[in-house]
Symmetry: C2
């Protein structure tokens, strides 16, 4: 194993999934056996404000037939940041250059920070992604048009993505609400963190940049579940 | 007591100091007797980025002989926001319209948010006000000149101002480090909160806007000490 990239992949695989990616899990790890690692550290993913667009919204804002241009893969498989940005316009102010994330979704969703709600003059309901009932609307502006949304503005509820084997290891189930502990000079705990278990989801705790800054976190930080 | 302002003063006095301001404390409350209220709620004061200037810094940035113009009293007695603003200039970016707080101090101090440290490219050491040893420098720009500081940039360590009778009531002492509990949908706890006891200090927990937003706080929010 002279290939450093392969070694790195192996180490990262063990750290993030608790399994050695160079071993065949069906032969090496039986369903009843826990993953080899016992680390309780969960990597942090820090989210800034962003939007998810429907196909119709892409057509309205960027022109009929426009396809989003992937720029950078995100940690969750299949998700990517796009070259495209939009402007958010509320009754009290605007925020320019807000990143579009792909791929498109069935409903357009605008995820902002708590501080943005004051600047825009728009209510930001604390919600998990996709739960848009009774959320505020906002106007999006792109290079080819604008779009007045009746709903879709949320401040993301903090959550932890994990694979089923992580859920077993941490003794939690999909939808469960836990607290997380953060160490350091700005340490503390955050309550009301939702567990999201998915076959394709890498282990990562998603919080926004205001939450991250309040706790002095960096992209290398980790958190721990407390129940 | 038909005067509503007097009634409001009395209610606020009781809420913030635990004492009725219309009563004479020397005759009504003996030193060994606790204040009448048993509420554990501590009002929150949310601080945005700001600067404290020395007399020399005021002269350099706003011109010789310039005196700061008070605009709005702050909750801590004798402190006020000024009409004057400055621009913060770091190696990676600038932040305009940063409020000056008065009165002037012996040393110039720049209090920024964790998020500002990335934008400016300046390190923000977590410190209590006045503790500026080994902190980063920055350049301040005003209408009449600029000033390159060798040190003075901090991200404020969260702290609770209180009167000696509050300290007795909460069973804490000056300089003690406690945690605070915050309720609500974004609730949790913040560790490493310093107690600052002063004869003139109104009861208030000072945290910055990123910490406040992370916990969904408003100027009407309260926190609770946990030890």
């Amino acid at each position: 194993m002279e290939d450093y990239e392969a070694i790195l992949d192996r180490v990262l695989g063990i750290l993030t999934t608790g399994q050695d990616p160079t071993k065949n899990p069906t032969s090496e790890i039986k369903p009843t056996v826990r993953p080899v690692t016992s680390s309780s550290a969960i990597p942090v993913g820090l989210s800034n404000r962003h939007v998810h667009l429907s196909d119709q919204a892409v057509a309205k804002l960027f022109g009929t037939g426009h396809r989003l241009t992937p720029m950078k893969d995100l940690s969750q498989p299949g998700q990517y940041a796009c070259q495209e940005c939009v402007t958010l316009c509320g009754p009290k102010g605007v925020i320019e250059k807000v990143r579009v994330l792909g791929p498109t979704r069935s409903e357009t969703q605008v995820e902002i920070l708590q501080g943005d709600t004051f600047k825009l003059g728009v209510k930001g309901t604390i919600r998990l992604s996709g739960d848009l009932t009774d959320t505020a609307g906002i106007t999006l502006v792109g290079p080819k048009g604008s779009l007045e949304l009746e709903k879709g503005v949320i401040v993301a509820q903090r959550h932890i993505h994990m694979l089923p084997q992580d859920a077993e290891r941490f003794n939690v189930r999909n939808g469960e609400i836990v607290s997380i502990k953060i160490s350091g000079i700005r340490g503390g705990t955050l309550d009301n963190v939702a567990i999201r278990v998915d076959e394709k989801a890498g282990l990562e705790c998603h919080i926004d940049t205001e939450e991250g800054n309040a706790f002095g976190l960096t992209p290398k930080s980790t958190v721990e579940i407390i129940k």
